[in-house]
Amino acid sequence: MARTVKRWLVLLAAVSLLLVNAVPAAASPAPYESYNYNYWKEAVPSPDAYLPERTISGRDLGISEFKDPGDVNVSPSGSIYILDSGNGRIVVLDPGFKLLRVIDGFMMEGIKETFNLPGGLFVDEEERIYVADTGNSRVVVLDGEGTLIQTITKPESDILSTQFQFQPLKLTVDHVGRVYVVAQGVYEGIMQFDESGKFIGYVGTNKVERDYGEYIWRMLSTKAQRAQMVLFVPTEFSNADIDHKGFVYATNIDPGSNEPIKRLNPSGEDVLKRFGYYDVKGDIRFRNNPGPSKLIDVKVLGNGMYSVLDATQNRVFTYDDEGHLLYIYGGKGNQVGTLKTPVAIEQSGEHHLVLDRGKNNLVVYEPTRFGARVNEAVALHYRGEDTEAVNIWREVLKLNANYDIAYIGIGKSLLMEKKNEEALGYFELGMDRKSYSVAFKRHRREMMKEHFGTFLTAAIALIVILILTRVAVKWRRRRQVDREAGFH
């Protein structure tokens, strides 16, 4: 008997060894290392959320190679518009990445006009193409076939100086046709034009970060010295996108800013939620050399999520609507999936597209099981369907046991179901002190309600016993005193 058991054990051990060796530990097909930040602001390894699927270059499409492509946009119907700036053309692809058509100019007043180093484009629901034609100082609005609808040129306004150069770089359009333009050298904010191309004003200004050392230095300097100093001007925006509610997401490249991403409401105030453990600013820890993230594009993904593109480390950071960092992918390099000079990020269905100016191609990323599950759970949570989200969060935890957001998500759902005590453990794992406090308050009240009677009985009993012992001690002492006095 003992022998068979032993033999089986040996066999089991041998099989387990084989199985361990069968799966290599580092089998990640990604050319980059995915990571995420934990509560202690350490970068910890994470499963890949997105993997490169393919790249698309001009040759793949059967046309000449891209030259310095500047922007990419996916229309609501799914067509992919690539702005091939160096060649002054717009390449239109269908959702399956097949070439539909190429727009390399338009007819204006009977003359064929071309683009001159355009910087950005946007396509609205009616397939109208808005192009920021930087070199020609105008915004061109075309219909889907490439016929001119209108142009927006240098605005005439009292608040603009006469030397003002209108050089639109990036733009986005809301559902009523207002155009938001990020223009070069404009510090006042994002320029807003109405649907007929009339200048309305600016929205959202970046605050000047005050440097007190510099401030004192400035006070001590002479006028001539001061004239040579750098001016403190707000930083420019680098890009903008719009969500379905009409809020403009904008990024700036101020290296010192802790709020490089803004969500502007219609009156231009920043209403981005920042409830995560750390600032919404890309990398929060970096060696001195690369420095903070330089965010150059933002894409609203829907369900409150948004991705930003970092040009320092060429990575994509995705956040949920509350400002939690969901996942990071991408990196510097020359392989498929790493990026040389990324300029724009887009979403096409489940895929993410990153336009790489350095390699003149479009990189298509597809979500892994982990990434897809996270997206799904965040979407459910955003819609308030936390109970459905729990199962997906549990699956996410199987793929990444360090995923704090999943713990918090499960905890919140348990809290809804009034399972306060169980929720406590999850909130502690997710290090969410605020929710923990809520759960604990309820749990404490429940416990008090349940045990108040017992507690009171015990307390009264204790008091009675204390009084009795006291009386007994006193009585005894008096007796002793009496005895010594010879009363007994």
Binding site: R433, F440, K441
Partner: protein, 206 residues
């Protein structure tokens, strides 16, 4: 026994001016009590980091190290005593080294008395109530500073201004001692390296 080890220390923290005088003149202080308070303070610090409630405990559990906790309390304690003795000797303080250790040790009592229940209570607090936790911890700290101040004043028979000056000087001297210590340590290390290198050379050449 009970008188010296429980009643007098408790009396001291509420009536410091009288009690510190008794400690000095009537020889009421016990070194054992002073070292016990030091040890208990260290224990409280460790317990607080380990067991304080989740809502007030921002310590990364991976960084808790009892040896370091002991060092962060005991080293400043003895540094303070040494530096204070050095300063007050020069500044006509009447306190002996033993009395300085006693006064410093006895001053730590409120920290123990407040930390112990607060660690337990903090486990039953919600976010809004954590303010009390921080309040009581600061009370403990200020009580300690006040006792230390009165202790120093009584032990050395100083005026208020002179006590403040000596306490500040003590802090500076503490810094100097640390600096000199580091200097000596690094020099010793270099001497050792030098000797070791010569030894290695000799070994390789032969």
């Amino acid at each position: 026994m009970k008188q010296d080890f429980i009643k007098f220390p408790l009396h001291l923290i509420f009536h410091p001016i009288d009690a510190f005088w008794d400690l000095k003149s009537d020889n009421r202080g016990r070194l054992l009590v002073a070292y016990a308070t030091l040890a208990l303070t260290i224990v409280m610090m460790i317990l607080q980091k380990q067991y304080a409630g989740f809502l007030v405990n921002y310590i990364d559990p991976r960084t808790i190290n009892s040896i370091i906790e002991i060092a962060t309390v005991a080293v400043p304690f003895f540094l303070w005593c040494t530096a204070n003795w050095a300063v007050t000797t020069l500044m006509e303080g009447e306190g002996k080294f033993r009395e300085i250790v006693l006064a410093t040790g006895y001053s730590l009592i409120p920290i123990i008395l407040i930390y112990a229940p607060m660690i337990v209570i903090s486990r039953f607090m919600v976010q809004e109530e954590t303010a009390f936790y921080y309040l009581f911890n600061s009370i403990a700290f200020f009580w300690f500073v006040l006792l230390l101040f009165i202790g120093m004043m009584t032990v050395h028979q100083y005026t208020v201004i002179r006590t403040i000056i000596t306490m500040v000087l003590t802090l500076i001297v503490m810094g100097i001692i640390v600096f000199l210590g580091a200097l000596v340590f690094s020099m010793l290390q270099q001497l050792y390296e030098f000797g070791y290198n010569i030894y290695r050379e000799l070994i390789f050449r032969t």
